[in-house]
């Protein structure tokens, strides 16, 4: 329906409603990010020394490769664990689906700090897992589950799993169950019907979930900082170190710019490829 011409002035006036938010963003969002960029290039005159240092010093390169390694591993594990849950949600009754959704949403909305703290209590040397294993005679003495890669992976997968489940479920719920039934009636085994029909149709959800989880994992700070050890220093924890311990603002800014560029590139590439709404909407509707 075409709005009558008298409608036009109304319409343009409604567009003005974005102005408060836009003004706020320019001052409190864009301006600080531009300060970040300028801190990475000036000291006080223009310089590339921070970037040169970043490339030259193995410790910084390790932080970058740690970040990518941790994020990739988290993404793969979250996909493997999230797919079955999403599949069950998409193929079960409405009642059970609501129950499953609630059971995923409650941890999703529980503070990350609380969940990370919970893992410290559970995985510590005197934690529940270690005490149980020692009492059962499985172990002679506690194994180290914290302040290493195991702790970081457990904690991060726990926090990011819902971000994988919701986009997966979104794609799967759009698959017409009749398609799978047809494949079965034509003689496909359940496994074959799943592999040849359901799985390919769910791939957009797989892509959206993986991008979202990887994106969030790259910038993750709380969990690596609390559950990781010296071997799990990431870009995010290094930024904190630069600001709060070493007082090296220029270098902190440079690490921030690197993080921003990596995340921005992934975001732009995939928002074109599969629609921004799917990435952000997944986080938005159920939240963060």
């Amino acid at each position: 329906m075409t709005p009558p011409t008298a409608e036009k002035p109304w319409r343009s006036r409604e567009g003005l409603l974005v102005l408060p938010a836009l003004a706020f963003y320019l001052v409190v969002y864009l301006y600080p990010l531009s300060k970040l960029v300028s801190w990475s290039f000036f000291d006080p005159g223009f310089t590339l020394k921070f970037y040169r240092e970043l490339l030259g010093e193995p410790a910084y390169f390790r932080a970058l490769s740690n970040t990518l390694e941790i994020s990739l591993l988290v993404t793969v594990i979250a996909l493997l664990l999230g797919y079955p849950i999403a599949y069950l949600m998409a193929t079960t009754s409405a009642r059970l689906r609501s129950l499953l959704t609630a059971l995923v949403l409650v941890p999703f909305w529980t503070s990350i700090l609380v969940r990370t703290f919970a893992w410290i209590v559970i995985l510590g040397n005197n934690g529940i897992v270690n005490r149980a294993l020692v009492q059962l005679g499985v172990l002679d003495r506690p194994v180290k589950l914290l302040f290493n890669m195991i702790g970081v992976q457990v904690g991060m997968v726990h926090v990011l799993l819902p971000f994988m489940i919701f986009p997966l479920y979104g794609a799967m719920s759009r698959i017409d169950p009749a398609v799978v039934r047809v494949a079965r009636s034509l003689g496909a085994t359940p496994v074959r019907a799943f592999l040849r029909v359901f799985l390919p149709l769910s791939l957009p959800g797989v892509a959206a979930g993986c991008v979202l989880v990887f994106l969030l994992a790259i910038g993750f700070y709380v969990t690596p900082a609390l559950l990781g050890g010296p071997g799990e220093i990431t870009l995010a924890t290094m930024i904190d170190m630069m600001i709060n311990t070493l007082l090296n603002w220029g270098f902190a800014a440079t690490l921030g710019v690197v993080l921003l560029v990596v995340v921005g590139a992934i975001f732009v590439a995939f928002s074109r490829l599969m629609g921004l709404n799917r990435i952000v909407g997944a986080g938005g509707e159920h939240a963060r």
């Binding site: 990010l33 995923v104 909305w109 700090l113 410290i120 994106l215 790259i218 921003l260």
Partner: protein, 268 residues
Amino acid sequence: MTAERASGGRAALWILCAVLIVFLIAPILVIVVTSFNDSPYLEFPPRRLSLRWYGTFFTSAHWYEPALLSLRVALVTMVSATLLGTAAALGIVRGQFPGKRSLELFLISPMVVPIVVLALGFYFLFSGYHLLGTPVALYLGHTTLATPLVIVLVLSALRVSDPSLELAARSLGANYWWALWHATIPAIRPAILSGAAFAFLMSFDEVVIAIFVGGPDATTLPKRMWETIRFEIDPTLTAISSLLTLLAVVVLVGVVLAERGRAADRAS
């Protein structure tokens, strides 16, 4: 035979998912159960039950003062993010101007910028205006984080809402703002309320920006928890964690009820 195998596969799927759900829920349950411990050693399961750690939280200024600051920051964030976000979403959906799509992308982009990068930007910004360590820094930082959330929720509600009521009001001569207030806003009220509730929760739980811009003078509850976790395992943390979990559940139930209300409205 295939049907049998299918139901066998189904049972395996259920068992696998039950294990995964336990993985998701167990940490929270463990903390809640541990919080009722009488012992300072985080026994699980507790040998003797008590509410002493809840008592510590509510009676020690070391804990309740940060909680009060968090409450203040979360309330301010909720109001400002809801106003900015709702207005922006209305402008995007109802307005007509060039670059709408890019503007929408820009307005929800803080959601994907790593919080630590935002926090660093705020640190640079606020240190220039002597705002580090003030609640104002927290209001502004948290509003940046929460506004995109409100925008996304209100946008999706607006896109499925029926504009005919608003058009009817206007064709009957209603003033634009009257139509907005009496026709459009009521239709998307559940989304606005959800956005407000989530904005509150996000701010109340937020720790990274609080660490970077809070300084020693503006310590929110999550910042105090963070400092404590790094230093020692204080059982009070289990009580606070349980209360934060309860808060999340309350917000979620509220949002679900608001959405139900909307569904009921549609049906009637």
